[in-house]
Symmetry: C2
Subunit: 356 residues, 2 copies
């Protein structure tokens, strides 16, 4: 039987750009690999994915992406181990989630094998771009956007699904100072906050700029109604350790169901750490900080992995977190990255090998 | 003194497409005029606008518009009167509003004269595209999007501001059946609902599709917290007449400050119609429908002008509006379109002539 992977056409670059890249000094998502996967939705169906040289996209000015923000994306990483084997981390979760996002944004869902086989075909041609320096990886960006035309505010009739890759270093340099938001919001009840929709990110930039002007790196979003509940950060879910209990907010239609988040919950339980998934109030976090029971806060996401928070601000007041030996953040980070880079046993079955 | 209008370069098309267009059977926003205005933001500044043939846009796949939905737009119309004079309606309101939107989306604001002079230069070359058939006009779409590159979730360093024009007929054909939403939401407190941000529209498509499947044309959004208050429709503000009073919701950070809405409030007052700008509950509208005091509901916006609503649905129940002679909708529509098409005195000073 012929599968989709047999029909994916591959057009290779004539000359690779790889020699021009300094793999020991990589920023995040700035240098792009040689190829990309492209899959078009036309006449009511997704066409067969193809691998082509990374190249510009040409669109009509009335393409709906420019006007109505109809787009979704994913963020994944490919890792290379000491034997040059290539690994993904729970890629089927990304495959499922992009379709959850697509559905909410009225974008036709992508066949499961188009996503996975398109991605594998791309890694096959570009695996040399996976960096091996400590903490670096190939950041993978699948994205889908409305390429169909017209000013009528309605879903497009054509879409492009692209996967591009960028060898990347760390997302944040060092510890992170966050501001707990009390005015602006990221998402609404019944809105698109649970989807990786482009518009969710643009809406965060201005409040984040205001926070950066005050000396913070990131905003921690609270519910739009009362601003009393901790939700998540720009591109990370949030974990809070009070005494020896690890807390994280339940996901909802306002909060992204992060793959790092749910993996860390399982690893923490495996480490016999007590985990509570429940609404967290700003008030209890401030009280815990005041009475010394607040031990750690960290963000968790594919791009930033685990990002320890050194300080949080709320209503013009800063609260510092203690510096701990053997923090949960460091234990969990070692466990998850050891699985990702194939340095330890994978009892959960999360690693996914890509043959190159 | 040299003004910006002296420095706008104009590159005309070799052959116009205008003869191929059937101006008596225009859809909405499908046929594009010959030229467009383009203004680039680079190296920290907006460059001089230029007029070029309408043409495709080429972008890197990592351009932030594809990933983070950083885009805003406006909607305006140009009208031609019996003497072939060209008119805009309150264009400075659009100019101000696009910058309100830009600011919230962390897009650099556009100099006032770049917007107005760019638009006027475009209409000078494309005024022949303004249709004159009853109810038609040249729909004008100014839009701005992030053209700068990179996967880091932060504002772009380059933007494109474009104005394109589409000769258009009516937005809706006939009366409109709306569904008052009880689950999904358009915007959050502290969010971007007041801005004409692309992402606000994409988020409405799926709930609107669900409503369309149930036989409605449009959704009327309610507040995301209780779904008890009427907010606005997809691209229209909402007016409700109970007995002889015209009600409309106050604008907020969740609701667009529509130019048609605020113009109609003034015209209604001038007609000695009692207007109340106050929160409107779904409950009072249903009660008014039941006791016969609900006389009219209509949407108001640049694209749809005034769109009378024939039926509204709520929780699986439909409520029909009566058919009235001399409805407020018809009185107000005549007043506002007579001003727009230069058929009546403009006591408010809203008309703006463009020399061609
Ligand atoms: C809003 C938001 N929250 C959380 C996350 C973390 O999710 P994941 O762990 O799947 O990368 C991301 C990034 O993907 C995100 O964009
Ligand atoms: C969400 C929304 N509400 C209301 C309106 C009506 O605003 P205006 O009358 O300025 O066109 C529009 C369209 O512009 C809109 O997009």
């Amino acid at each position: 039987m012929q599968t989709i992977s047999d029909t994916i056409k591959v057009e290779k670059v004539k000359t690779s750009k790889i020699d021009k890249v300094d793999f020991n000094n990589l920023a995040f998502g700035k240098v792009l690999a040689d190829h990309m996967m492209v899959c078009d939705y036309k006449n009511g169906a997704w066409e067969t994915p193809k691998i082509v040289p990374y190249q510009p996209i040409t669109l009509d000015p009335s393409a709906k992406i420019f006007h109505y923000g109809q787009s979704v994306f994913e963020g994944m990483k490919a890792y290379k181990d000491a034997d040059n084997k290539v690994w993904l981390f729970r890629p089927l979760e990304n495959q499922k989630r992009i379709n959850i996002s697509c559905k909410r944004l009225a974008i036709p869902e992508i066949p499961e094998d188009y996503f996975m086989e398109g991605l594998k075909a791309l890694l096959k041609v570009d695996h040399k771009w996976i960096p091996t320096a400590e903490g670096s990886s190939l950041y993978i960006r699948p994205f889908v956007f409305a390429s169909g035309n017209g000013f009528h505010a309605s879903p497009a009739d054509e879409y492009k699904f692209i996967i591009a890759c960028a060898p990347s270093g760390s997302y944040f340099a060092g510890k992170v100072k966050v501001l707990i938001e009390e005015k602006y919001s990221r998402s609404a009840n019944g809105g698109v906050g649970f989807a990786k929709a482009g518009g969710n990110y643009a809406g965060q930039f201005y409040p984040t700029q205001l926070a950066v002007e005050k000396g913070y790196n990131q905003v921690i979003w609270t519910d739009d109604n009362t601003h009393e509940y901790i939700e998540e950060a720009g591109a990370m879910n949030i974990f809070i350790r009070i005494n020896d209990t690890l807390l994280t907010s339940p996901t909802s239609d306002r909060i992204l169901d992060g793959i790092t988040r749910k993996s860390l919950i399982e690893i923490a339980k495996d480490e016999n750490i007590k985990v509570e998934v429940r609404p967290i109030t700003v008030k209890e976090v401030i009280e815990a900080s005041k009475n010394g029971s607040l031990k750690e806060m960290f963000g968790a996401g594919t791009a930033a992995v685990i990002s320890p928070i050194s300080t949080f601000g709320h209503k013009d007041q800063d609260y510092d977190l203690p510096e701990l030996e053997n923090s949960y953040a460091s234990i969990l980070k070692k466990r998850i990255t050891d699985i990702q880079y194939n340095k330890a046993e994978d009892k959960f079955g999360w690693r996914y090998q890509v043959s190159i």
